[in-house]
Symmetry: C2
């Protein structure tokens, strides 16, 4: 056959930093995370900030201005920050992306300039997608402000927005330039957002790290009284497990396997079915409860371990069930079952779902029994009623 073969490797590196009071004048981290520039002018930084976060940190923009003024030989602020709506709406409406791209053009942000996205996972996903597209990739610094984004999505290599009513229909794989987690930012989270990211830690502990599962179990009370030290430990441990998994696996998901999405097939659908009333982390907690119950019915885990996991989830204040799980289409099919096909469709190829082989160890399966899913849902509904009574 008459052909030329192309083959090359690309190395990707970035650091995930942990700090407190990121934009305090005397905190050297941000400045030191930026490499010396080439050329005649210091690089430009365009900030994109989550409106909800800004509400709790009204002095943030002034602090950033002060920080840049103090380091103006090394870096330049490109105009006023772009303030965007937080939460899933950031990913549902195209105007936020359009606005960022327009500013990239006006402010002459180039491929050696930086977009700094400060906010929850949705804002980071959306701003990251804009950064990945502009000039085929402007440098992105993620500053995640929620537990969920600090321990999970913020340290990953994906970005995206929703389209055609489908979550992350558009996006790319694009490692960030750096991730900076300011743990102090977590203190102003409302309880729901403080809690919801813990579900991703439970997820990765259940499939990969029994010791970590024990750590989470032992600290339920500490998390519930918002102990920042306990949470910091959880976030670092969880972020490390995610980073290692990505580096050791299939970073750009060329195959059909997505082990880090344990509990996620139902979660994605549930978010959509509730119009995002249920937040991602909360939906993942329910999705884990569902897949753990399914694993029980399959005989993969003991009733004792099943009960332990559900107790952990509800002990943290998560719901185990939402009525939308029983919503049906016109022909009587459970809506949530469509989530299985959408999950397969997004990645393509064969359906691949992660379940539990035992506590601390995942196993991939390529089909799920619809009757057992229904039975699992019924069990969860009863369990939920029991807990909430």
């Amino acid at each position: 056959m008459d052909k030329l073969e192309q083959k090359f490797q690309v190395e990707f590196t970035f650091n995930v930093y942990f700090t407190h009071h990121l934009f305090a004048i005397d905190n050297p981290l941000f400045r030191e995370a930026i490499p010396p520039f080439q050329g005649s002018n210091p690089p430009s930084f365009l900030f994109v900030i989550d409106e909800g976060f800004l509400h709790h940190h009204p002095n943030l923009v002034q602090q950033i201005r002060g920080y840049f003024a103090a380091h103006d030989a090394k870096m330049t602020l490109a105009g006023a920050p772009i303030i965007v709506e937080g939460g899933e709406n950031a990913k549902n409406e195209t105007k936020w992306i359009d606005n960022i791209l327009s500013k990239v053009n006006q402010m002459k942000i180039d491929r050696h300039s930086y977009i700094v996205a400060i906010g929850g996972g949705a804002v980071l996903d959306m701003a990251g997608f804009a950064a990945a597209m502009a000039h085929r990739g402007v440098r992105l610094i993620r500053v995640p402000t929620t537990v969920l984004s600090q321990n999970d999505s913020g340290v990953g290599v994906k970005n995206g927005v929703n389209a055609f009513g489908k979550k992350n229909f558009l996006g790319t794989f694009e490692p960030p330039f750096a991730v900076i987690n300011d743990l102090q930012f977590l203190t102003t989270l409302e309880d729901r957002d403080w809690r919801s990211g813990i579900s991703e830690a439970i997820k990765v502990a259940l499939i990969k790290d029994l010791d970590f599962f024990h750590e989470i179990e032992e600290n339920v009370e500490a998390y519930n009284r918002r102990d920042l030290k306990a949470m910091t430990s959880l976030i670092k441990h969880c972020a490390k497990l995610h980073l290692d998994h990505i580096a050791g696996g299939d970073p750009f998901e060329k195959g059909s396997s997505r082990p880090l999405d344990f509990g996620h097939w139902a979660a994605h659908k549930l978010e959509q079915l509730t119009d995002y009333r249920i937040r991602h982390g909360e939906a993942v907690a329910i999705g884990i409860a569902l897949d753990v119950t399914y694993s029980l019915l399959k005989g993969n885990i003991s009733e004792e371990n099943w009960s332990r996991i559900l107790q952990l989830i509800s002990g943290l204040g998560f719901d185990l069930y939402a009525p939308e799980l029983h919503a049906t289409t016109e022909d009587g099919t459970l809506q949530v079952l469509k989530g299985l096909e959408e999950f397969r469709e997004h990645l393509g190829g064969e359906l691949t779902i992660m379940l539990l082989e035992e506590l601390g160890k995942g196993v991939e399966v390529h089909e799920m029994d619809h009757e057992l899913i229904v039975e699992s849902l019924n069990i969860l509904e009863r369990q939920h009623a029991k807990v909430t009574v």
Copy 2:
């Protein structure tokens, strides 16, 4: 410092095939280029076809249908092909991308499905960008139909569209799944498109391969009488040089160097200044003439070699100059000089321009003398007048 370090490598591989009569039933190439599928259904293929090309190949869609019908155990056609406008308009209007994404959604094209783009470089760039975004990356098979796209852009790792009046303002780096060059497709090209891709071969020969430069010189007459064998040799040689350069260099252009863009800083601006009346390859021929003349004035190449290169370019039927090169802004500045800054801005960092150190060898510089550029333009204008008289 409190940090986690992420580091991983991703390997990218794809083949560039050469064939004749790609969709003839008895041509096994397309079928064999597709790996066996996993799961229960053969993968779907969504075709995006350049309207201008289809005009010259009115039976193409029928041929594709026949080919897929003959191989329906291995691959499935996803609906009717999407016909898009060819040329730069494909990259200037968002409706083409929107249409592709909407079909990806309707036809349930997933990450293991294929988008097959058939057309010139602009259509491949636009369809490739849509494929890269959808589900964070649907497999893309490029079927370039012009000399330019077969020997240059079609074998590369970029895609993109224009925005804010700037060429390739949006796009990503995303290697294709495969590239299939059907040399027979070239026979229906109009003379301009047959010729224009030769400039990219001259470009890469001048900076990398003296023997190839001689091959091109010796075959001017053969190219001019549209000898397919001579052109096939040029395309393969040029594609190979491009592939090797990408694999051996900085595939995703993280640095500021873009050696394969010799002659391109002025070319991009000229395309825009002429509202794309001058096609990319034609603009590159002029851009090469300009940078070669500048290299002469800098004393890097001899007058004999300068004259030889210009003779080759005009011997192939290319213009050496366009009046828009002398267009000025309101304040009297030459518009084309803005191309230098836009070129720097796109890649970011330091301005880096490839010039000639000698025939067959490039050298990078970080500034250009505006007066020498003006002098080069004047020389080209006179040279052009001399040739066309």
